[in-house]
């Protein structure tokens, strides 16, 4: 094991994850999620995150359909989708996505179709953005493990 390489990768990882918190992509709930991962369940976070992104894609697609025709918007369906999205983004620590959902719900409550469409677009952007960021993070993790190192615990408080 090349300790220099491992140390470098670990520092990279640490800096990257801290930047994600600082830039507001992630909140404390993500670190709660990381606590649930251990040697017995090394893929827990990536699995849950993957489930979350799949959910996003599906829910966004359904809501898009409901919002499609201006004369016939199913706001109940949209509200249900936003509720689910808000819940799961909150559980995962996906801060930006969750925040958009809050505005999204407000638009839905007053049946503002235009507002909903804007929020839908924004939520689509945010989840995809986070997806690429986390993919990079998990890649770093893999590199550390392959180099024989351990993933640093990062405490965000």
């Amino acid at each position: 094991m090349n300790t220099t390489i491992v140390a470098q990768l670990q520092r990279q990882f640490q800096d990257y994850i801290i930047s994600l918190y600082q830039q507001g992509f992630l909140d404390n709930q993500f670190s709660e999620l990381r606590k649930l991962q251990d040697e017995g369940t090394p893929d827990f976070v990536s699995e849950v995150v993957s489930l979350f992104f799949d959910d996003c894609a599906k829910l966004i697609n359904n809501m898009s359909k409901s919002l499609e025709r201006p004369e016939n918007v199913d706001f109940k369906q949209v509200d249900s989708g936003v509720h689910q999205l808000k819940g799961s983004s909150s559980s995962v620590g996906a801060r930006m996505v969750k925040n958009v959902c809050i505005s999204f719900k407000e638009c839905c409550d007053v049946q503002n179709r235009e507002g909903c469409l804007r929020c839908l677009q924004q939520v689509d952007y945010e989840y995809k953005m986070l997806k690429t960021k986390l993919q990079d993070l998990f890649k770093l993790e893999q590199q550390i493990l392959q180099a024989g190192g351990t993933i640093p615990q990062v405490d965000i408080n």
Binding site: Q29, E32, L36, D38, K86, G87, S88, S91
Partner: protein, 224 residues
């Protein structure tokens, strides 16, 4: 069978969202609990033995499970989401608390929405705790005392029931014996059949069954 000395608590987690089920399952496992997850209130009741399969599903092709084959499982806590289609967590809470057999099981409600009236309603109906989602590991430490209480209580109940059963000579609920009973006694035993909350029945199943294998359900996962 004997009495299984399970050192782990067994929690039944109810949530219609796959994502949330995965989360709560991991949280509970990390807290050293055995977990069974189901995706609806009706499946939860089915698992507990409070409802037959054909009452839960409206599928005409589903095979019905006869009441006699229901195994009663040892659950130390039920944790359920509040917002679920069909039966809400509140409805499930009520059904559990109305059941003589299961009202002692602590029930915890989870919700992503902080609605004070909702919270007090649930607590008034008998919920032990109300957790706001996302649930954290630290929240689950509050559950241990509730689960301890039930486990100890159940152990004591089983002890007294088995003692009672052994002292009674007649086994009315054994179907092969019913035929030879005089008519009025036969009618009596038939009335007892559907009452799943009958304590005698529970004790007999404990004594007779050597294999506590559970019936298979779809969409239910049990993990340790």
């Amino acid at each position: 069978m004997g009495r299984e000395t399970e050192s782990q608590f067994h929690v039944l987690a109810v949530d219609d969202s796959l994502f949330d089920r995965k989360m709560i399952e991991r949280l509970l496992q990390k807290s050293s609990c055995q977990v069974t997850t189901v995706d609806s209130g009706s499946k939860a009741l089915e698992f507990l033995g409070l409802r037959t399969a054909d009452e839960s599903s409206h599928d005409p092709n589903a095979t019905s499970t006869s009441p006699e084959t229901h195994q009663e499982v040892e659950i130390n806590l039920i944790i359920t989401d509040y917002c679920m289609p069909g039966m809400t967590g509140y409805d499930l809470l009520k059904k559990v608390k109305e059941s003589a057999a299961f009202k002692s099981i602590p029930v915890v409600i989870m919700s992503s929405e902080n609605v004070p009236s909702r919270i007090s309603r649930c607590l008034e109906e008998g919920a032990e705790e109300f957790f706001l989602k996302p649930v954290k590991l630290a929240d689950l430490t509050k559950l241990k005392p509730h689960m301890m209480k039930t486990k100890l209580k159940k152990e004591n109940e089983k002890l007294t029931k088995e003692e009672n059963e052994v002292s009674k000579p007649e086994i009315k609920e054994d179907s092969t014996v019913i035929e030879i009973l005089p008519l009025h006694q036969e009618l009596e035993s038939e009335q007892h059949e559907p009452m799943l909350s009958s304590n005698k029945r529970k004790a007999i199943e404990e004594v007779i069954s050597t294999d506590r294998s559970r019936p298979k359900y779809n969409d239910i996962t049990t993990s340790v």
